[in-house]
């Protein structure tokens, strides 16, 4: 977020200007979330994440991929993945409440799969184009890498039921540290993107 505003001149005339704004909101929500947990408002915390933070994250990131090429095909992907995500969110809240399913975060898993699909689609395009040679200055490369590493890398951890976490406490503790490291990696990659982005 800080890097985004420091290098504001590079992004102010591009769709990337919304990215530091998005990161600022994430920062606000995360801080609020910590405060809510500290003051034991767990219900509000859960509600905020389930209905505001996580859906906002997915929709924003889907839109970010669409803004890269703004063509009809990308638009279809955006509409399709957003619809599937919202449908899965409704399904989860109506039918899966309290159920001990394999993925206790059904909509989150669907959202992550959507993101991974978009990231793979982006990388596939990149490796088959001349832009591959200039990947370092391509902001989307760093963002997509961050997304792929964090969301895909942490999927098994966030998807696993709490009961299973109790069965493998040592492994899960290590994995928890790994998720924090992946989270940091994602933000470092975003920062690199802002630093190395080439001004058009």
């Amino acid at each position: 977020m800080v890097a985004g505003f420091v290098y504001w001149d590079k992004v102010k005339n591009t769709p990337w200007k919304w990215f530091p704004v998005y990161l600022f909101f994430i920062f606000l929500f995360e801080s609020t979330g910590e405060l809510l947990i500290y003051f034991s408002y767990d219900d509000i915390h859960l509600f905020m994440y389930d209905y505001i933070v996580i859906p906002m994250q997915f929709i924003f990131l889907y839109t970010l991929f669409y803004l890269q090429d703004r063509n009809e095909n990308s638009k279809k992907w955006l509409i399709f993945l957003s619809s599937v995500y919202f449908a899965s969110l409704c399904f989860e809240k109506i039918f899966l409440t309290g159920a001990n399913d394999w993925f206790n975060q059904f909509s989150y898993t669907i959202g992550v799969i959507g993101l991974v699909m978009l990231a793979i689609r982006y990388f596939d395009k990149l490796v088959h184009s001349e832009s591959l040679l200039l990947f370092k200055s391509d902001m989307m490369f760093w963002v997509a890498s961050g997304i792929l590493f964090f969301y895909l890398g942490t999927l098994p951890f966030y998807g696993v039921p709490d009961s299973l976490k109790g069965k493998m406490p040592h492994f899960m503790n290590m994995y928890w540290i790994a998720t924090i490291l992946l989270d940091m990696t994602m933000y470092i990659l975003f920062t690199l993107g802002f630093i190395w982005k080439r001004q058009k």
Partner: protein
């Protein structure tokens, strides 16, 4: 149930790990592959560029020399010839008998200057280009190439009209460039050259059985081809190039009312 869940979890974890590592390896591999291609193309372009620069320099020099030679022949020599005639007339004039001793050396100097200028003018223009017809030049080139044994060039010359030096020079350079490309890039085994004339139109067709090229790729269009095109356009001629991968290359040049 719990055992299945643990197995599923470990399976998913491993699959994701393998996928991420595989993606990184694949990306690095693709990047290196493209980088090597890019570097090779850069070296190739730079080589072509240098070659073209050299050619342009040689062309420029050739044109300048031809211009100077023409000017010497058409302008300076004519004036000196006139001056020489006047001096000879003065030498023969009885009224100027008293000055005969002075006039004769002038006449000799003028004569020797004329001889020197004519030989300089000839030396500046490639003699063979001036004296031989385009057909003869092509046949001579054919003999030289065939003697190397690298390829077989057959030439069918119907037209033996003498063209201007500029036209002969440009057409001949195009033929040389085509043969050079056929040998160097297309590895042709056979080259056919036809020079015909129909209804005041001179047609030069060049064909090889080499590996051809994809006409849509910018790299292979190259500067050599652009150079040939430029030469033909400078003669107000038309230029058609047909090439397909593994099907050889054909070039047809049409010149209307060439002189």
């Amino acid at each position: 149930m719990e055992k299945t869940e643990i197995i599923l979890f470990i399976l998913l974890f491993n699959l994701i790990l393998i996928f991420l590592i595989g993606s990184v390896i694949y990306f690095v591999y693709q990047y290196r592959k493209r980088k090597i291609i890019y570097d090779n193309e850069k070296v190739e372009t730079s080589k072509k560029h240098k070659l073209e620069l050299l050619k342009a320099q040689v062309d420029g020099q050739e044109q300048t020399m031809q211009f100077i030679a023409r000017e010497i022949h058409d302008n300076v020599t004519q004036k000196l010839t006139l001056a020489s005639l006047y001096s000879q007339m003065m030498d023969a004039d009885e009224r100027l008998h008293a000055f005969k001793e002075n006039i004769q050396p002038i006449s000799h100097i003028l004569e020797s200057s004329l001889v020197e200028l004519r030989s300089l003018s000839k030396a500046l223009i490639d003699n063979s280009l001036q004296q031989k017809t385009i057909g003869e030049l092509i046949l001579e080139e054919t003999r030289i190439v065939n003697s190397t044994g690298m390829t077989y060039v057959s030439a069918h010359i119907e037209d033996h009209a003498n063209l201007s030096v500029e036209m002969k020079s440009n057409l001949f350079r195009v033929v040389q460039e085509f043969i050079q490309n056929s040998l160097k890039h297309a590895q042709a085994k056979k080259i056919e050259i036809n020079l015909t004339r129909k209804n005041h139109q001179l047609c030069l067709s060049l064909r090889d059985d080499g590996k051809g090229f994809d006409m849509n790729t910018s790299m292979e269009k190259g500067m050599g081809l652009n150079n040939m095109k430029r030469r033909i356009e400078s003669l107000n001629g038309s230029f058609e190039l047909i090439s397909k991968k593994d099907e050889g290359t054909t070039m047809i040049i049409l010149l209307s009312n060439p002189t």
